[in-house]
Amino acid sequence: MSGPGTGQREPALLRAAEAEPARASVVAVDVRGASKTYPNGVHALAPIDLEVCAGDFATVLGPSGCGKSTLLRMIGGLSTPTAGSVVLWPQSPTEATMPSAAGEGGHRVHIAAGRRAKTELAFVFQSPTLMPWASVERNVRLPLDLAGEADDGALRVEAALRLVALSDFARVYPRELSGGMQMRASIARALVTEPRLLVMDEPFGALDEITRSRLDRDIRELWARRSLTVLFVTHSIYEAVYLSTRVLVMSARPGRIIGELAIGEPHPRTDAFRVSERYARWCKQLSEMLAAGSDEAGGTRPLSAS
């Protein structure tokens, strides 16, 4: 079973425009010339330009250690760019700005703190990062408790747990859950704030293949159902093709974006898509881009499947 466009020879970008949920041209993430050099001299990120629009499922793909997580941490407000700016929802009147580490005028980065900002972004980390001393329910409720939003907290927690199919496990402790279920709880914690932007840093990397496939499918369905904007990081080409509307390919350290591929495949993407010829073609194309990135230093090259 595959999507409606299977087997047809249409331009990839056109197929994407027809098939994916409607995308407003609202910018969710605006990264301009952001770079990162750590105090120990490690140059993790070369200046990067990146724009993620509302409704995108954008995936950053690159080899281990290329700075993908650094980029995401800067977007999440957990790390400050050495130069350049990171702004979330730049058209929004609630946009928060502050100077970059370099202190240059006009550079702006998003501030994670602040009640409004909290609901604009949620982060899912590489590991579930759950409090082992608290039940699943209390873990999911954490962002609401920290923000002092307790009025409809129980309902929102219940809804978030239902979304990730963990309603029956609300009272158990994280250690009683499997790795996949812990990651679901982590996703529920991110969703409970009803974020406009969901940032996921290689969340399923430590899971077995079957669990990973199932969670990939779940997160893709959530994205479509909740009209989320997702920025996802992975080093798996297969995961990137299955999940994304856009894949941004990064080079090895110091990381920079060396290519972009629009995955023009319709939604829903079924399991059959993962064994289709088209899927293999997208993967091959991404693989070639990654290989080229490791061989040479080039600029951003928008590409599409043909």
Partner: protein, 261 residues
């Protein structure tokens, strides 16, 4: 035998075997009671002198409990201060170590001279002995926060106090209880040592004083009975602290999970 039973039966069996061997050796070699009394003699002395020994035990336990309480309150407070400010920790930690390495026997006479109330003096001595593990372990625990969880708290804009209460304190609990296990024993040792020092001046009537008196009178069975009570008090303190740790950590921390399985 299940693992749970083995945890209690195995050490009890070792204890019984030791007592039987002791009884047998004393009988076999006809050891006089003023050198090594038999376990039966010690038990009968314990029953015979129960009013005297139990009232002394209560004195020692009172000093130990007050010292442990003070060590916990002050130790945790100091650890919180250290975690809030690295400069403070760097400046004061050497002096905390100084408290730990100074022999209590050497400073107890001074404290007993300076502090008029004998009970207060003994409690201070025992607190000095017991406080270091609480400070050291709690500070380490408050700093040993999962970096991923710390990121989650930062991401959601947690206030400093929220991070302390919801993240640092729960993270520090296993470390705190590890320190408390050591401190419990040290508080008792501190109390006994301080009593020894003060006891020579005839100002206390704890178990250490009874040991001193029994030694002077060559009442070795009573000396052994008092020793036995101190040992049992130490074991009871350890078990109480372990129970508290188990109740606090049993749902989530690896150190207590094996008991549940």
């Amino acid at each position: 035998m299940s693992g749970r039973s083995a945890r209690f039966v195995a050490p009890a069996a070792v204890g019984v075997a030791f007592v039987l061997l002791w009884e047998a050796l004393v009988k076999a070699f006809d050891v006089p009671f003023y050198l090594v009394p038999s376990p039966l003699q010690v038990l009968s002395t314990l029953v015979q002198d129960a009013p005297l020994l139990l009232s002394s035990l209560l004195v020692t336990l009172r000093i130990t409990a007050l010292a442990l309480l003070l060590a916990v309150v002050l130790g945790v407070a100091v650890a919180f201060l250290f975690v809030q400010n690295r400069v403070l920790e760097t400046s004061l930690f050497p002096y905390v170590v100084l408290l730990q390495v100074t022999p209590i026997v050497a400073i107890a006479p001074l404290i007993i001279i300076w502090v008029k109330d004998p009970l207060a003096a003994l409690v201070i001595c025992a607190t000095i002995v017991a406080i270091f593990p609480v400070i050291s372990n709690t500070t380490l625990g408050l700093r040993s926060v999962d970096p991923g969880l710390a990121d989650v708290f930062r991401l959601y804009g947690a206030q400093r106090w929220q991070t302390l209460i919801r993240l640092r304190i729960p993270s520090a609990l296993p470390y705190f209880f590890a320190g408390l296990r050591v401190s419990g024993g040290l508080a008792l040792i501190g109390a006994v040592v301080a009593e020894f020092v003060a006891g020579t001046g005839g100002t206390a009537s704890g178990l250490a004083y009874q040991i001193l008196q029994a030694g002077l009178q060559l009442n070795i069975p009573r000396l052994f009975a008092a020793l036995l009570l101190i040992t049992l008090a130490g074991v009871a303190i350890f078990l109480l602290v372990s129970l508290a740790a188990h109740l606090a950590l049993r749902h989530w921390h690896e150190s207590e999970l094996s008991l549940e399985r």
